[in-house]
Amino acid sequence: MPRESSHTDTRPLGYAAAFFPALLNPDLETPSLVIGPKGKSAAKRYNIYRNNVTVSLIEALAAVFPAVQRITGVEFFRAMARCYVREMVPSSPLLFEYGHEFPEFIERYAYASEMPWLADVARIERGWLDAYHAADAYPLSTHDLADSTREQLIELKFAPHPTTRIIRSRFAAVTIFAANRTDGPFGEINAAEPEDALITRPQYDVVLRRLRPGGAAFLLALLDGRPLGAAVASALNAAPSFDIAANIAGAIEAGAFMTTRVGGPM
């Protein structure tokens, strides 16, 4: 990569435009608008800012994705995160919102290709933090459905709880994620077993559940605003063994919904 000449923006308020390009680009020289005291060089001094920016963003990613870091090891994670930071600088000052494109990045990251399930673990982990910070709301309770007739139930639509996330994986991403969010040992995992995750946070604690067969198709249809009858049909289509009662009860118990209504847009 050719070295660009130092940035010499001389407009009175051009200092930020001249200062920032080299922060995330090690091939650029120290901007010429800064100096050390008494005519000293500013190279090492400027590098403090370079280091602060990169390291703090790597640490922000490590805070969002602790299970991914535990799986890859710290050194691998930091190298991967450094590449991501240079490609995808944050646009929001809220760092708990950083890294939404990290799972897609992991899929493209050549050194991670031997861990094809890693991106899905990252998706669950990102969803976990989104649920952690999502708005507070009372979840729907099974009592709210108690006096509905069968005909009403078929037409019922469910508004998702603000914390609800569904993540589908061709791998055992739920089990791998759960095993790596704590420090304890875990048994052998068959990574090739497909798993779907339901993430909720009925009050303060985030809850992660592995969905039963057809459960993801069912909940995604409901979250899409389709009525219960149609969602059950999608689920049965996806998995003939779909258990209607267990799936509805499980999702409500997990706090996946906020309200129900009949007819109209959800």
């Binding site: 009175p12 435009a17 929001s92 000052p93 760092l95 708005a135 507070d136 303060y204 209504r261 009949v262």
Partner: protein, 312 residues
Amino acid sequence: MNATGTHGSAIARNSAARVELQSPALCFPAYPVAGLAGASFKPEHLPSILADRERRFFEVHAENYMGAGGTPHRSLELIRRDYPVSLHGVCMSIGGPDALDKTHLERFRRAVERYEPALVSEHLAWSTHEGIHFNDLLPLPYNAATLARVCAHIDEVQEAIRRPILLENPSSYLTFRASTMSETDFVREIAKQTGCGLLLDVNNVYVSATNQGFSARDYLSNFPLSRVGEIHLAGHARQSDDEAEPLLIDSHDVPVADDVWQLYEFAISRVGAIPTLIEWDSNLPGWPILKAEADKVQAVLDRVNSGHYYAA
């Protein structure tokens, strides 16, 4: 999506009151912060702090409480119920040439409204430019053009939150060829033009003085001390510059250095018992260690308050 379900033929199954868990109109006690030592609040320390119930204030980074809901807000509510809180903004980018981020300013305003903090502060630095957030406190030149821009930004923040802020002096590692004013003259002029107060970070003064080769005590003598509403103390790390001379990093990951304690006593002998915070942001120790640092500050402040004080 219509969450309340009141349209058309719809049958609302739940009362509207159940739909959105409105944060109740919390009315926190107006705890005074005068003469108190404080500590950075970290969620890891919450149980110890709640069991502690001592005379103290806690400071939080405003950005950590800008999510929609969940545990962070619950934790800060518990802290705020028992203690005065200082809301310390890190990412407003007041020192940047770009216009302030209106969305972020509105989030900041809501945090001030929600937690009724005893102190509200921000930094003389920039962190966002052209829509990129660098997550660091970046420096600016001190001259007439930047002074006007910084003052306009502070006016905007203070209008939004309807109260003055305290502006913190930065730690610096380098200077700009385009600077025409000293930092102390720059902040004095800002305080005069905007009516803001100042957050004097004594560790930053020490770090900058070492890095730039000036006298920290001269800096304090030139600093508009009458505007100081809060003091920060923190630990720093030691590196060396291109000429192999000491280069200090404002790292907030170790105890306060002895030299910084001495400089603090020098400052406090001139400004009085200003609320003083121990900042600790990474390599976090257990609560007893952070608490012991805060207790050390409280002892200094109590000595000042009781009049039995002799400057170092």
